[in-house]
Symmetry: C2
DNA sequence: CTCGTTGTTCCGTGTCACGGAACAACTTTT
DNA sequence: AAAAGTTGTTCCGTGACACGGAACAACGAG
């Protein structure tokens, strides 16, 4: 019953978009009367909202989700540094953490003319084809790298790195320079520079700037990204 | 069962802080074995997390909450304007919507030296003693104003307006000027200027700048707030 | 009007949620 | 160190209520 409700709510996860009852039945595998009863209960609790025949995630979830302590606190302390970085570059700025073999974005700030990107707050993407992901992966220990390399590498664009050796050398460069680069691997025509954030010796997060290729000037961006990441690391009582 | 799980999760709502099982039993009124079983289930689903004897809200809720469509879309389109406003003022910027007789904050961005404020993303505060709340209230129809005034007015500080007539005239001024002012009503030593955001003729949100009294220069802030609110309104195909 | 699809209600069956009670693991007190 | 609380966990018999097949109702398209 709880499990089935979770099934319903999590069936919204990739896009969140509105679904009809029959679509929910299809994607959860629940029986029709069961889904009907559960959605009614969830609406009553404010976890789902219903307009006409369509169900969407409810406001109560937004409130609960905003309170999740780890995420909220990290975002809160990182925000001023993300603002600095945005102000220095006026490009899309990300903050993400690792969760398993993926990166979850905690914050993404952008201005009026930002390019399309697959990243969404609360959404996850592969570690291997995002700047934030690479920065995290490079500083999360050799075992994790090996585990990631042991699976076939996912790709978001035709340019995503799929060759394990190529990724391995990229990670080694990142370990030396403290910066991760990503070019057109997450979105066509967007490149990205990322840097890890340390607390207590381990990489707890990473932040990045994503730029349309036409405006991509790594020499200008790299110092800004590094500065923001170091400033945040210092505040988290970390240090490399 | 679902209802009881909701009771547990929502018992985290004001602060989100970690709770032990016995505290959860106390604040939900559930029987001890019931709470024990439900928390175990919720942990299994990723909706709660447990470290030692303490329970916290889980990461899955953050992911679900970030997808809630109304909130996500509005935040996303508003963000560039909030950035503009922040860059123009370098003070704490809010975006909020009305929910019942309270304001819920969708976004709050700030820099390094921001003052303490009671507002939190996903959190709610009274309409009557916040800038965003007043801006929303002033443009949400007379019936709502009457309903708010019919209850005793809550206060967050000794300076919060508690006199109905005083509030009424403040709202009338806001209706004329399109700007809501708040001085030390939400936090001691912080003042705030807010403006409503319109879409399709109704106020769907409001944004504000909150400033420590020492730096409070209304003449500079007001145009910036108005500009951001109007720009956002225009994008939402609204217009006053 | 007819027919496919989708949403809702009914209801008998069987499961599993419920919570009192007893037990176990800690923490504090004397 | 023993005793007396406090908190977390397990057991288990009872009974409520979740379950889903089936039948019905409300659409929407042709």
């Amino acid at each position: 019953m709880l499990q089935k409700s979770a099934l319903i709510l999590e069936s919204f996860l990739p896009g969140g978009g509105p679904f009809r009852l029959s679509e929910l039945v299809e994607r959860t595998g629940l029986a029709k009367p069961t889904a009907h009863r559960l959605t009614a209960d969830l609406v009553r609790l404010g976890w789902l909202e219903r307009s006409g025949p369509y169900y969407r995630l409810g406001a109560k979830l937004f409130e609960l989700g905003s309170l999740v302590p780890g995420r909220r606190d990290l975002r809160e302390t990182a925000l001023p540094f993300l603002q600095d970085l945005f102000e220095a570059t006026h490009e899309t700025v990300h903050l993400g953490v690792r969760e398993g073999l993926e990166v979850v974005y905690l914050e993404r700030i952008h201005g009026h003319d930002s390019p399309w990107l697959p990243s969404r707050i609360g959404g996850s993407l592969p570690l291997t084809c995002t700047g934030v992901g690479k920065a995290l992966l490079a500083f999360s220990g050799a075992e994790l790298t090996e585990e990631v390399l042991s699976h076939p590498l996912p790709s978001l664009t035709p340019y995503s790195i799929t060759d394990p050796e190529q990724l391995r050398t990229a990670l080694e460069k990142t370990q030396v320079s403290g910066l991760a680069y990503e070019e057109r691997e997450a979105a066509e025509d967007v490149s990205c520079i990322a840097a890890p954030v340390f607390a207590g010796g381990t990489a707890v997060a990473a932040l990045s700037v994503a730029v349309p290729r036409a405006r991509y000037r790594p020499a200008q961006l790299a110092p800004a990204v590094r500065t923001a990441a170091l400033g945040l690391s210092r505040l988290l009582r970390g240090g490399v």
